[in-house]
């Protein structure tokens, strides 16, 4: 939305933007449906689009091999990519706005290294140790992620919970925990691939039981972030302006960190660390929609969900019948895209 609006009145300008917003959301909805169907369709065995739609419409889990693949494997997996993509992108928007730092991303709170530490501890102790049954790894990832956020949170409180101190303390904890993870990797060299698979993320182990948790947590988390768009818009100008408008910065920081921590911990526990979604998707959404979080947040959710679903589909077909770690695909697409955006902005874009 460049500088071509010189002659417009605020009314025309607003209406034009709302119209454009509607068009963009329509396009994003179509993209989401397409990603969803493609995600269900491709993999070690391709299921044609027609069949996917037919099976879904008939909703018959016992309808042959395609239906079995679809309901047992693909559907939970695609639902997970949709949820986690939306969760990461929305968390990214919230944190970038809260910190007014375009490089902020959901893992900055120490969540990623915390989750990895949880997993690494089990691996270092020996993978035979499964104190929490088949979900031990997920549970430890969640525990690690959540405890780290808690630590970052309480340490930041000593500094009055100012956004910038949260950012720095999160960064410090990330480095500290990463060094412990590296140390543990030395102790567990033979099972190091398990740690690696968490580091690069994977949806191959997604099960309906993951979805049950996500289906509650993710929509709730997204809703809780969305109702703060007004406060987030006000803080865009700076903390002092927001304060003058009557916003309690401390409370807002506290609220956003807790919601983001829960959303991201659930994501990491289900699929490991997936880079670049939380960082780059908000930037892409901003290119189309500007800085109004009211539009930016839902758009990021839609783009994030579609992007992660398409990336996961790609990860399944590049070295078929094997799979690439999802983090490899998102980073391979995300990193060049991010550099492109930075260059574009550097030129005054």
């Amino acid at each position: 939305m460049g500088s071509s609006h010189k002659e417009l009145s605020p009314f025309d300008y607003h209406h034009k933007r709302v119209r454009l917003g509607k068009l963009i959301f329509l396009a994003l909805a179509i993209l989401l449906v397409f990603s969803f169907l493609l995600g269900l369709s491709v993999g070690a065995i391709d299921i044609p689009f027609n069949d996917v739609i037919e099976i879904l419409l008939n909703s018959n889990p016992n309808g042959g091999i395609y239906a079995k693949i679809l309901f047992d494997v693909r559907l939970p997996r695609v639902i997970a990519t949709l949820f986690i993509g939306a969760a990461l992108a929305t968390s990214g928007v919230s944190l970038q706005t809260l910190f007014r730092n375009q490089l902020a991303e959901p893992y900055i709170l120490g969540i990623a290294s915390g989750a990895l530490l949880g997993v690494s501890i089990i691996v270092a102790l020996g993978v035979s140790q499964q104190p929490f049954g088949p979900y031990t790894m997920s549970f430890m990832a969640f525990l690690g992620a959540f405890l780290t956020t808690f630590l970052v949170f309480t340490t930041s409180k000593a500094f009055g919970l100012r956004p910038v101190s949260v950012l720095l303390i999160g960064l410090a904890f990330s480095f500290l925990l990463s060094s412990i993870v590296t140390f543990l990797q030395y102790l567990a060299l033979k099972d190091i691939h398990i740690i690696f698979s968490w580091m690069m993320g994977s949806f191959s182990a997604i099960h309906w039981s993951h979805i049950q948790i996500m289906a509650v947590i993710v929509p709730l988390g997204l809703f809780l972030l969305f109702i703060k768009v007004k406060d987030l818009n006000a803080i865009l100008l700076g903390e002092e302006y927001a304060k003058q408008l009557g916003i309690d910065i401390k409370k807002l920081t506290q609220y956003l960190i807790i919601v983001v921590a829960i959303l991201v911990s659930v994501s990491v526990a289900s699929a490991g660390i997936i880079g670049f979604v939380g960082l780059v998707i908000p930037h892409i959404a901003r290119l189309f929609l500007g800085y109004d979080n009211k539009f930016l947040m839902p758009a990021s959710a839609l783009i994030g969900a579609s992007f992660l679903t398409l990336s996961d589909a790609l990860s399944r077909i590049i070295i078929r019948p094997s799979e690439l770690p999802i983090g490899v695909v998102t980073s391979m697409i995300g990193a060049p895209l991010f550099i492109y955006l930075l260059l574009k902005r550097g030129r005054g874009g």
Binding site: S3, H5, L8, K230, L237, Y241, Q244, L245, G348
Partner: protein, 440 residues
């Protein structure tokens, strides 16, 4: 009509006191200048008023209601602020920046109603920046940015507008334009506008009243003309100034007396007394001061151009009442100054009966063996209004060995020569002293 009453507020940042027993009453329709040096508490006072800071002691009342009972949103509906620091997201478009001001008036998602957009439109119109609407903040010039932030504050529809250094980094044209707009809007919308300003002269031009702060205390408060006095400014800023009424604008203007700044060169040994008047000594005084000479002047009539210049430059003056003849008393004081000088310079000022004694003073200087330079850019015949007395005296000057010069360059070279001699003399005196000490 609304009003603000500030009652004995104190504020401190940890151990540093920022405001001490500040009390003031402000009515709507007023543009109040908040004046004072850096760190005098201007910004703190603005932040206390906006509710961003809470005074430790004392209260602020808005329309008789204590600010403490206001909710954050009520405060934002009544007070808006323009801060000095840049905004954190400069890539935002102007429309979005103004939209943030509607925060206290919109629903939970912050969706804009047509009333909100109308208000934004009016704010843009008031600042004459309707064409900025789709532009990014970081694409604007400093002056344009400031207008956008003021428009944002207006879009908040508050009754009190708080401005922290609204024109700090603008050029003089934009300073005047922006302050003019602020004043106009204050009157049109019957606001209370309180602006922290660095430039007392701009405050004098645009503000109705002022609060002068120093070290967190009020030095003076009231109509701008009562606040801006030599003494008040000296108390607050610790500098000497001359405060005068400007004949055209009819507002006060403040000229700092900045002698220490001018004397940037190595001080010279010579002391020079200048006899001038009618503006003939103005540039000479400044030039000699810039070269590091110590200067005195006289006798000068108060209100004479040279008198004002000498005052501004902080030169010691022997003065006489305006438009009157030099009295015996002033003449003696003048001779006194001449006695302390190494050189006397007589400029080509017109002579009448009233200042004839000044030529006499120059003759006395010669008689005492003091080097006397007479400037004759314009011959004495053309500026003798005494019926020949002045010309006769000039003859005497010539006889007694005055050096007649036509240009200032010549004066400088004469002074240079004398300065060299003076320094040698000084050295001889010093070495003599050393020798004397060695003998013991």
């Amino acid at each position: 009509m609304v009003n603000i009453e500030i009652e004995g507020i104190h504020f401190s940042y940890k151990s540093t006191k920022a405001l001490e027993s500040v009390t003031a009453k402000i009515e709507s329709g007023n543009f109040v200048g908040l004046l004072g040096p850096n760190g005098s508490g201007k910004t703190t006072l603005l932040k206390c008023l906006s509710g961003m800071l809470k005074p430790k002691v004392g209260s602020i009342y808005f329309d008789g209601k204590n600010l403490e009972v206001f909710s954050g949103s009520d405060l934002a509906k009544n007070f808006s602020i323009v801060l000095t620091n840049a905004i954190d997201t400069p890539q935002m478009e102007v429309f979005d920046i103004l939209a943030t001001a509607r925060y206290p008036w919109t629903g939970w998602l912050g969706s804009l109603s047509s009333k909100d957009i109308k208000t934004i439109n009016e704010a843009l119109e008031a600042l004459e920046i309707k064409d900025f609407i789709g532009r990014r903040f970081n694409e604007l010039s400093d002056g344009q940015k400031q207008k956008v932030l003021i428009a944002r504050a207006l879009a908040q529809e508050a009754k009190v507008l708080l401005l922290d250094e609204p024109v700090a980094h603008l050029d003089i044209k934009h300073q005047i334009e922006v302050l003019g707009l602020i004043k106009r809007i204050t009157k049109e919308r019957n606001l209370i506008t309180i602006g922290a300003l660095h430039d007392v002269n701009l405050a004098s031009l645009f503000c109705d009243s002022a609060i002068l702060l120093s070290e967190g205390r009020i030095i003076s408060i009231g109509p701008i003309d009562n606040v801006l006095t030599d003494e008040n400014i000296k108390k607050a800023f610790h500098i000497s100034t001359i405060v005068k009424k400007h004949p055209i604008t009819d507002s006060l203007y403040v000229v700092p007396i900045c002698t220490s700044e001018l004397k940037s060169v190595k001080p010279k040994a010579l002391t020079i007394h200048i006899i001038c008047g009618g503006g003939t000594g103005a540039s000479l005084m400044r030039m000699l001061l810039e070269h590091g000479y110590k200067i005195s002047a006289g006798v000068l009539n108060v209100l004479d151009t040279d008198y004002e210049v000498a005052c501004t430059l902080g030169i010691p003056i022997v003065s006489e009442a305006p438009f009157s003849s030099i009295t015996e008393e002033a003449h003696k004081a003048n001779l006194n100054k001449i006695n302390n000088a190494n050189v006397v310079i007589l400029t080509d000022t017109p002579f009448g009966r009233g200042n004839l004694r000044n030529i006499g003073a120059a003759i006395m200087a010669l008689e005492k063996g003091i080097t006397t330079v007479v400037v004759e850019g314009k011959p004495i015949q053309e500026r003798d209004f005494t019926g020949g007395y002045a010309q006769a005296s000039y003859e005497e000057l010539k006889r007694k060995g005055a050096i007649f010069v036509e240009s200032y360059d010549r004066i400088l070279s004469i002074l240079n020569e004398l300065e060299g001699k003076q320094e040698n003399l000084h050295k001889v005196q010093l070495s003599g002293k050393e020798k004397h000490q060695n003998d013991h």
